[in-house]
Symmetry: C2
Subunit: 130 residues, 2 copies
DNA sequence: TGCTATACATACATATTTGTATGTATAGTA
DNA sequence: TACTATACATACAAATATGTATGTATAGCA
């Protein structure tokens, strides 16, 4: 990623690592990480996910799961019973992504207090009052 | 992150690692990564950033830089000359975050073709046609 | 017969993010 | 005098993401 030279002719920096942008789009939305997190522990049913995540609307849970499935990160297993039963679990690919998320989580644990401190001092300085 | 037990009483999974959510909010927007990436190479002036990123609007560049500054990831140095000159660079904190982004980038380089393959097979299967 | 449980779909409303167009300031230069 | 370069600010419009409310299907049970 960070070995780069001049770039006079190209249009967009992210052309250089096109997948990073798409990967960020993958994980950046409001619910993906929560779902991946819960599934990292175990297979879950739809209703279990909803209860454990807590404040996710059912529309968003469905959309998030569909996206994750389409992207090969989560697999869906339907049991033909009544009432319906569907189990979700991480794919091997999903598990590798979870590893990376763990690194991000570690960074945030170690460094986020610095971010908060920066915010405080910024918001308290004279120049940045509104 | 991923060592967890039962969670019958809490509301939201992400309460368990509150900073992850906020860190994701930090980096998840459309332009932050591009800016961090360009600055990882060197200090840049406002106009240089704009040219190198390419398709960012000036409003978004300004907002992104202000956010990054507020969060302590980027520092801003103003030279009192006419026409104005302002230099942006990464803070030490910003550099550590860039490390993590690099891991994400590595993941995407290694694995994103799997994601694309999953998408193709998903979109081509009978069940998922619209 | 009517009600329950489960896993959704869908129309519509609202909120948040991003983009576009235009304006501001000032020293130097033609 | 008018025009340039640079780094913004701001009002407004458009696009995208998210939430809410309601509907669907079916076996079993009271």
């Amino acid at each position: 990623m960070y070995s780069i030279l001049t770039m006079s002719t190209k249009k967009n920096v992210l052309d250089l690592h096109p997948y990073l942008r798409q990967t960020l789009d993958l994980i950046a939305d409001k619910w993906v990480v929560a779902v991946l997190y819960v599934l990292s522990q175990n297979t879950r049913r739809y209703g279990e996910l909803q209860r454990e995540i807590g404040d996710i609307s059912q529309r968003m849970l469905t959309r998030t799961l569909r996206d994750l499935e389409r992207n090969g990160l989560v697999s869906r297993k339907v049991y033909l019973v009544v009432p319906p039963m569907v189990e979700y679990s991480l794919t091997p690919l999903g598990k590798t992504l979870n590893q990376v998320l763990k690194e991000l989580c570690d960074w945030s644990t170690e460094n986020f207090h610095d971010v908060e401190a920066a915010r405080l001092s910024h918001d308290n300085s004279e120049q940045n009052r509104s």
